[in-house]
Amino acid sequence: MRQEIRIGGFGGQGIVLAGHILGRAAIAAGKHAAMTQSYGPEMRGGRVAADVVLDDRPIDYPKVIRPEISVFLFQGAYEHHRQEIGPVLLYDQDLVQLHPEDAAREGRTVYAIRPNKIAEELGRRVVVNIAMLGALTALTDLLPAEVLEEAVLASVPRKALDLNREAFRWGLAHGLELRAQRKEVEVRR
């Protein structure tokens, strides 16, 4: 089955690396993956998006057509891509202010995640992308967490292995918690 994921943020957040890790994990798990990127016109600090397509079959068209999962860590990226948000939306609640009309509704699940806060508490904001990947892994069933963690550790500098492992696991726990909370709400309904 073809799955399309868009990760949007700003230059410096490691958005493209996050997309690369997701694709790398997918091919390690025997899937097909394609990643493309898009940028705003700014030289630095501008919006960037990593678009990842996953499939069990070989991928024909490598670009995202209608993202099933959108993740935003930057207001500018969210604003630019908000017309193409699909059934699942994750956004960093400390970095993105959601328009009310984009909120959860019939057929759309929205998660307010806090990878930036996790990264700040770890003392290194550069791991916001890795904490985000942890949350994404927990909140979707794209790939097993072990496969993702392995791809994270294979993609980051050796001296930063512990920091990134911690960021990923913290993000994962955060995501699992959000997922459990939603389940509880659904059960109560």
């Binding site: 690369h20 694709g23 091919i27 993956a33 990643m35 024909d60 068209y61 490598p62 670009k63």
Partner: protein
């Protein structure tokens, strides 16, 4: 015949990678034995130069950052004359500057590989966005008559595979060859599998005699390709862009030598076109509508094809892997079908296709900056089916 050897050296990154097309191109070149790169980085090909700058010193090769693309092209011709497998990579504006020395490479029968990661043009156009508008320039861009071997890869894996093939063909025929990629192929990351057992390498023919013995550098073997002596080995050689005889000496006022030399240079490639031409057929058996596409556009076309098949439409695709030499016989055999040609240009390969199907094709064009969307191609399929 050229020597064929199995690649075994450690320069080959064996295994599975999640790699961009530009990176895969650089790795393909190194796996093919390329040990000299001269270039002037230009978007969207810069990652090739960047990776070559990092990788070539690791394998004993040379990376030269040149002052411009004219010099880059001259440098790879020189390096190849000295024995190196040599490459440059560029995009539209640089490709234009290279044209004169591309002609020099043809005229001096110097093997080398030129990669063009196409972007929107003309001029500096759209540096970061896709184009496919250099497909005629690669065929006719330099002055004079010459025969071209060009590949249009459609994925990072093909960037790896066909860069190797471009080197092999360059070495086999003593000619410059081209990898006509596009921004999307260059910048997409996908699985690239590098398996040394599947890599076959070809190297240029060497003189049949020892240095000091009678040797004419442009005297061909029966396959019309002359063995190549390298600068500094002790053979007497003379290399010039002027029309020259078999000894390499200028014969710029002798039309019969021009006829003899140029005809051989064209025939050494065109007589073997059936061994060079490559294409992929997709569901052509019962196709009433046929898409003819290449590069990234072929992937949008394939998506459209699958959607159309789900709707019961009899659609097939011929993907041009070598736009040049053009697969003329295969295309001509499709003339009973409705032919759709999607391209990110104003209709370049469509002209050549129409020559062979002897009727107008249904053209779907973007002028650059954006790949055709599968839906646009699907609409055209539904319109003509």
């Amino acid at each position: 015949m050229s020597a064929q050897v199995q690649a075994t050296d450690q320069a080959i990154l064996v295994g599975q990678h999640f790699m961009s097309g530009d990176d895969a191109c650089a790795e393909g070149a190194i796996a093919a034995g390329c040990r000299f790169f001269a270039g002037y980085p230009i978007t969207p090909s810069s990652e090739i130069a960047e990776r070559m700058a990092r990788r070539l010193p690791q394998v004993g090769g040379i990376y030269l950052q040149m002052e411009d693309e004219i010099a880059s092209m001259a440098a790879i011709v020189g390096a190849s004359c000295a024995g190196a497998k040599a490459m440059t990579a560029t995009s539209g504006p640089g490709f234009s500057l290279m044209q004169e020395n591309i002609g020099l490479a043809f005229m001096t029968e110097t093997p080398c590989v030129i990669v063009n990661v196409q972007r929107g043009g003309p001029s500096t156009g759209m540096p970061t966005l896709i184009g496919q508008a250099d497909m005629m320039q690669v065929r006719f861009g330099s002055h004079g008559d010459y025969a071209v071997i060009a590949y249009a890869p459609a994925s990072p894996q093909e960037m790896f595979d066909y860069t190797i093939k471009a080197f092999n063909m360059a070495e086999r025929f003593r000619t410059p060859t081209f990898v006509m990629a596009d921004e999307l192929v260059g910048h997409t990351y996908e699985r690239v599998v590098i398996d040394p057992a599947k890599i076959e390498l070809v190297s240029r023919k060497r003189p049949h005699v020892k240095p000091g013995e009678r040797f004419w550098p442009f005297e061909p073997d029966p396959d019309l390709v002359p063995p190549m002596a390298l600068a500094g080995e002790g053979y007497r050689i003379h290399v010039t862009g002027l029309t020259h005889d078999e000894r390499g000496y200028p014969a710029a006022t002798e039309p019969e030598i021009q006829e003899r030399m140029l005809e051989r240079m064209l025939r050494k490639i065109l007589d073997r076109r059936d061994e060079i031409v490559e294409y992929e057929e997709v569901e052509l058996e019962d196709a009433e509508v046929v898409l003819i596409a290449y590069g990234s556009t072929a992937r949008a076309a394939l998506h459209a094809l699958r959607l159309a098949r789900e709707r019961g439409l009899k659609v097939g695709m011929l993907r041009l892997i070598t736009p040049w030499p053009f697969p003329d016989k295969r295309v001509a055999a499709l003339r009973e079908a409705e032919i759709i040609v999607p391209e990110v240009n104003a209709g370049q390969m469509a002209r050549e296709i129409e020559r062979w199907i002897r009727k107008p094709a249904h053209r779907v064009n973007r002028l650059g900056g954006e790949l055709l969307h599968p839906d646009e191609i699907l609409r055209k399929i539904e319109e003509v089916a």
